[in-house]
Subunit: 345 residues, 2 copies
Amino acid sequence: MGGDAGLPVTVPAALEFARTRPDTHLVLVGLSDAINACLDAQRDVPRERIEVLHAAEVVTMDDSVEVALRRKKESSMRLAAQSVKDGRADACISAGNTGAWMAISRYVLKTLDGIDRPAIATSIPNQTGGATTMLDLGANVDCTAEHLLQFGIMGAALAQVTEQRERPSVGLLNIGEEVIKGNDVVKQAAELLRASPLNFYGNVEGDDIFKGTVDVIVCDGFVGNVVLKSVEGLAKMLGSMIREEFQRNAYTLLSGAIAKPVLNKFRQRVDNRRYNGAALLGLRGVVIKSHGSADAYAFGFALQRAHEAVASGLLARTTASIAQMTAARNDPATDGAGPIGESSL
Amino acid sequence: MGGDAGLPVTVPAALEFARTRPDTHLVLVGLSDAINACLDAQRDVPRERIEVLHAAEVVTMDDSVEVALRRKKESSMRLAAQSVKDGRADACISAGNTGAWMAISRYVLKTLDGIDRPAIATSIPNQTGGATTMLDLGANVDCTAEHLLQFGIMGAALAQVTEQRERPSVGLLNIGEEVIKGNDVVKQAAELLRASPLNFYGNVEGDDIFKGTVDVIVCDGFVGNVVLKSVEGLAKMLGSMIREEFQRNAYTLLSGAIAKPVLNKFRQRVDNRRYNGAALLGLRGVVIKSHGSADAYAFGFALQRAHEAVASGLLARTTASIAQMTAARNDPATDGAGPIGESSL
């Protein structure tokens, strides 16, 4: 039901996904009349793999976390998370209110053992042609060093899945040469990360996100959220400026037409719709958040993220990593130095 | 002496500046033999307005703040700041080690009454065609709400000068719709800013930097530094990707040649060299920091920033704003609501 467009985006995207992934079964959770009307308008609906689960209410973008959690106990978000909890679904996806989605999925699914705080992670395309996994993006504004370590564990498990890295490198977002390098929490987190079995690279700076210096970048949710929105803002500004320049007059329009294949190729490379689908990590279930402004193409990638996470055993990987980390800490003989990676499964 | 290139950038830029600004007198501080050799190699040197002040040592990029401050008491940075302190210069500029430059200028010049912590501020081009003044960019990693308020005062005074705004609007960088809006410091800072005579807009998000929603954006130095480097990193990545696409084959090269005037126009609009020159605010003197990678064109803009700040009485404006703020706080009758702006001078 969620996102700026709602069903006209989510239903066609879900159908397209079901068609291209014959191994999947979809549960569409929400106001069933509206969903069925939407389905009826579509062709080639694989009805045998599409189920509609009726929810009496919908969490809106303006609903506070309290309202979403305490007053709307029959919401589509609630039932979707519950379907994962009950084993009826392997993963759940929403394009709705992020705060509510995080609170509801956390309330219903609970956190994994050893994880204090769930975090929001996404992939950001970088110069290497791959993507940098970054977390937290806004779930936790005040973090301790221990939380940042846990983000490192969860982020590494995610990067194993999305970037097919055996031992993803993990960087800690910090500031550079300026007066004081990092605050106390960041300094302590660096020590914890260094002592952990993670493949810890050390401190990284803002531009390392795009250089692809490391596979995973860890930061608190305040910093991560501001950075993500800043770079989205810059990308939007540059996009509209370049459009303006090509639309100035007949000559610029013509050269724009000639350069179109090149500009399209460029646009494809930086199309962030291909990276849609943030993971809500640290929960006892796969939970994905699509960008609210996603179109059907972008929403399809959020569905793929969920599929990938389930297919490659994201939860098992995360759980194994945490267990290994805990064992390493309790057993000083290993000096916390056993590598975390495929081998831990 | 500072910056990646040193004198080959700073000396030509200084001469060009002296030529175009016949009202200025320049003091070149550093190793005098090297500076004089560099001057001798240039033509049309207005010697009567160029003075060389010999400094026995130079702070390097690798020097710690302690070394720069305690061991190199005859450094060019130290003498440059001292020349402002002694009234021999109205402003000082360096492209060297940011941490050292901040520490030395603060040690020599001291902070203004009512300012606890100096801050680093810069202008970032935005979609309106103007620029957003943003601070702090790395001088203070742990800030209190009171510090953020002071950044608002200093940033508003700077935006009056650089953006010719009578009552610059001030926004507080915060996170959006996510689980919890802002940490405690940010929440308290919003209250202080709202009660102040500043033209406080309220919370803004990362993308508002580029939308130009407000004239001034205030944040702690950790967040500001990471955001600045992230957007620089993205800009660099996009630039190199678009170059790559135009260099793929004969067709793309040709269309690149045809589109060149348009792409150049675009490049000009987003050329961040025109925004070079961060202000170290809150000190009893005008102190400017150029980007270390600045070329002579960019370094010229840092010199212009210094000139602007002196010519428009930045220090007097800042001092007046602080005094007005203090008066408003001590006199509850005004309810802290008198506007801060030109009228305060």
